[in-house]
């Protein structure tokens, strides 16, 4: 059953083109909305690939060519190496989960029957249909006893969207196609549905093609992101971090937004940055020894901790007495504490709020693991960064310095900038 299954398929677009006849009277040669131009990309099994781009860029067309609601003009789509065009149409579609923005639940069927749609088409016995739909309602967080016999009109938008996902999963398909699945619900519900879906994907591990026009959703949800531009051209295909760090063209840079540095920070976590050791002492320890050690440390601060290694606060080395012992009253209040799962964006924000250069990283028990410095975040941001060589460089550079107070130089690597310029020329 889907809850335990890890069945997924590789989806490969092989030089896929879709042309629409230009509306009469319009200039030929101009791309028609929804057209796709020589698309080649491979989505590995079990990954979420987001197709993102402005409206009319061909992202939905590309999605619908997988379950052949639209047939390609040229090229093939291979599912685990088999050309989808050669498969029997209804059999193909029943093996692919399909979720659309308007959900399209059948208003005349109960929630239970809606969820069991594809298994019913596949001729499963009645008892198993019921069992399966109850199982799936539970998976998407809806109490089967409460929802099974209701009709779609009795559900809220968020609940309906969950039912839509359950319905798409019903026959345990190796592939899911999701066309702006969370586009019609309010931002708070959307955020919750996105998080729930990511958690669900951890267990079901389907191959998912997911269309959105929202770059933030793309970055949040995608293992891979395919950025489309008008004319059905694939502008860039890569991980969200790659795309944010090194947009392949001016179009991509503009599309991901001037705050792409901040967006990267929201994808990176404290665990991605090397932590610095802290100079620590407990109340009762020798002040002279602590003073010497603090002086040797570039930070020149002493972190006072309790018996369980929990931070009590900072003491500047000049404030440490030359003799006697460390006391509990010495330290100033602690700077923000973060854990390894905290995003760099949140960590940085906390440090800016507290007006400090250093955050204390603690484990679940609150024990000190090390220090996170603004400088370390800045160094991390420099990794993998290709300085963009586009016209709006200035604006992007400004965004960058906002993101990393540790002075990220947008032109830090002239070689990388040249490289990007060359790549841009060939796009």
């Amino acid at each position: 059953m889907a809850g335990q299954s890890h069945q997924a398929a590789v989806v490969e677009f092989d030089h896929v083109t879709k042309r629409y006849d230009a509306p009469t009277g319009k200039e030929s040669g101009k791309p028609t909305p929804g057209a796709v131009n020589d698309l080649s990309l491979t989505v590995p099994a079990g990954k979420i690939c987001i197709l993102v781009g402005p409206s009319g860029c061909g992202k939905t067309t590309s999605l619908k060519m997988v379950n052949r609601l639209i047939e390609p003009t040229q090229g093939r789509i291979l599912i685990d190496g088999v050309d989808a065009g050669t498969r029997e149409l209804t059999e193909l579609r029943r093996s692919i989960g399909y979720v659309i923005q308007q959900i399209g639940l059948f208003p005349h069927q109960t929630i239970g029957d809606n969820v069991a749609t594809v298994p019913r088409l596949l001729g499963w016995p009645k008892a198993r249909l019921r069992e399966r739909s109850e199982e799936l309602l539970a998976i998407v967080g809806l109490d089967p006893a409460k929802y099974r016999d209701r009709y779609p009109s009795q559900l809220s938008g968020g609940e309906r969207q969950r039912v839509g996902v359950a319905r798409a999963l019903a026959a345990d398909p190796p592939i899911m196609l999701m066309d702006e699945p969370f586009g019609a619900v309010d931002p708070i519900v959307r955020d919750r549905l996105q998080n729930e879906f990511l958690r669900l994907q951890e267990t079901i591990a389907k191959t998912i093609l997911f269309v959105t026009h929202d770059i933030d959703e793309a970055i949040k949800m995608g293992d891979l992101v395919a950025v489309f531009q008008t004319g059905g051209i694939l502008a860039q295909f890569g991980s969200p971090l790659d795309i944010l760090a090194a947009p392949a063209s001016e179009f991509v840079a503009r599309f991901v937004g001037q705050d792409r540095g901040l967006k990267r920070l929201s994808l990176l976590r404290v665990s991605d940055v090397p932590l610095q050791p802290a100079v620590t002492a407990r109340p009762g320890d020798s002040a002279a020894d602590a003073r010497r050690r603090a002086l040797d440390d570039p930070q020149r601060y002493l972190l006072v901790i309790d018996a369980n290694n929990r931070p009590l606060g900072w003491v500047a080395h000049g404030d440490i007495p030359a003799e006697g012992t460390i006391t509990e009253t010495m330290p100033n209040p602690v700077s923000p504490t973060v854990n390894k799962r905290t995003t760099l964006k949140d960590a940085l924000s906390m440090m800016l709020d507290a007006d400090v250069q250093t955050g204390i990283v603690v484990d679940r028990a609150g024990a000190v693991q090390g220090l996170l410095t603004v400088a370390a975040i800045a160094t991390k941001m420099r990794e993998g960064e290709h300085a963009p060589a586009f016209d709006d460089l200035g604006a992007l550079g400004e965004a960058e310095s906002e993101a990393g107070p540790g002075e990220i130089d947008p032109n830090l690597d002239a070689g990388a900038a040249d490289q990007a310029a060359i790549e841009q020329g060939t796009v």
């Binding site: 379950n67 609601l69 149409l89 209804t90 059999e91 193909l92 579609r93 029943r94 399909y98 659309i100 923005q101 308007q102 959900i103 399209g104 639940l105 059948f106 208003p107 005349h108 069927q109 749609t117 594809v118 088409l121 209701r150 009709y151 009109s153 009795q154 319905r167 196609l177």
Partner: protein, 223 residues
């Protein structure tokens, strides 16, 4: 009206219950058969029209034209062919239902939201499965609305079939006899029963719709 005749004579009614009942049965037959035929023909035409939208215009034009033929003229035209038979009554009564039914049925199919059709297609319904399990059930409210209208119209119109004779004349026969025999009880009764029948049919179809579309009741009593 001869002097001394009562406007309405209940004692006549009570003494003629079996023959009145027979007229009611005849009338139901005169209504139900054309209605059933009309539903089948219109459903087929409507399904063709949603698959091939070009046919919608011509079908509307033809059924509209048929609707304009006066019923008496239609009986007169068909009498040389089918004689004073039930068929002569049923053919025009059937054609009169087509315009209303066809237009309501196509409206019902067209009212099914596009995203529901797309979801059905994307999940692997065959065309036939989609028609029978999705489009038809969702078109039911407008289909029933058409049937209600057609049944009420046909019940009224069927009284004219009395011109075709006593054998299957229905309530129209009562009315005609009442007028010709200056006997108000008969035509008043005929008219009243026709109205009651139309009313009953309407109630019946409203009930039927409620029974076969439980989801629309769920909406009314939301959450």
């Amino acid at each position: 009206m001869p002097p001394g005749t009562k406007i309405f004579d209940p004692s006549w009614v009570f003494s003629h219950l079996p023959s009145i009942w027979e007229r009611i049965v005849q009338h139901l037959q005169l209504t139900a058969v054309p209605l059933a035929l009309g539903i089948v023909i219109s459903l087929v035409l409507a399904i063709i029209a949603i698959r091939r939208p070009v046919t919608y215009g011509p079908v509307t034009a033809i059924t509209g034209l048929l609707y304009t033929i006066p019923s008496l003229a239609a009986f007169a035209l068909l009498r040389p062919i089918f004689g004073l038979s039930l068929l002569t009554a049923i053919i025009p009564l059937t054609t009169y239902t087509l315009l209303i039914l066809f237009r309501n049925f196509t409206a019902g199919f067209n009212a099914v939201p596009a995203e529901i059709l797309e979801a059905a297609e994307g999940m692997g319904y065959t065309r036939r499965q989609r028609l029978l399990r999705v489009e038809l059930p969702l078109a039911v409210p407008l289909i029933i609305a058409g049937i209600r209208l057609a049944s009420v119209t046909t019940i009224g119109l069927a009284t004219v079939a009395a011109v075709l004779g006593d054998a299957f004349g229905g309530l129209g026969q009562l009315i005609t006899e009442g007028i010709q025999g200056f006997f108000p009880t008969k035509y008043l009764l005929g008219a009243a029963l026709s109205v009651l029948l139309a009313f009953a049919a309407d109630v019946l179809f409203v009930r039927l719709e409620r029974v076969i579309t439980p989801w629309s009741r769920a909406r009314a009593g939301a959450r």
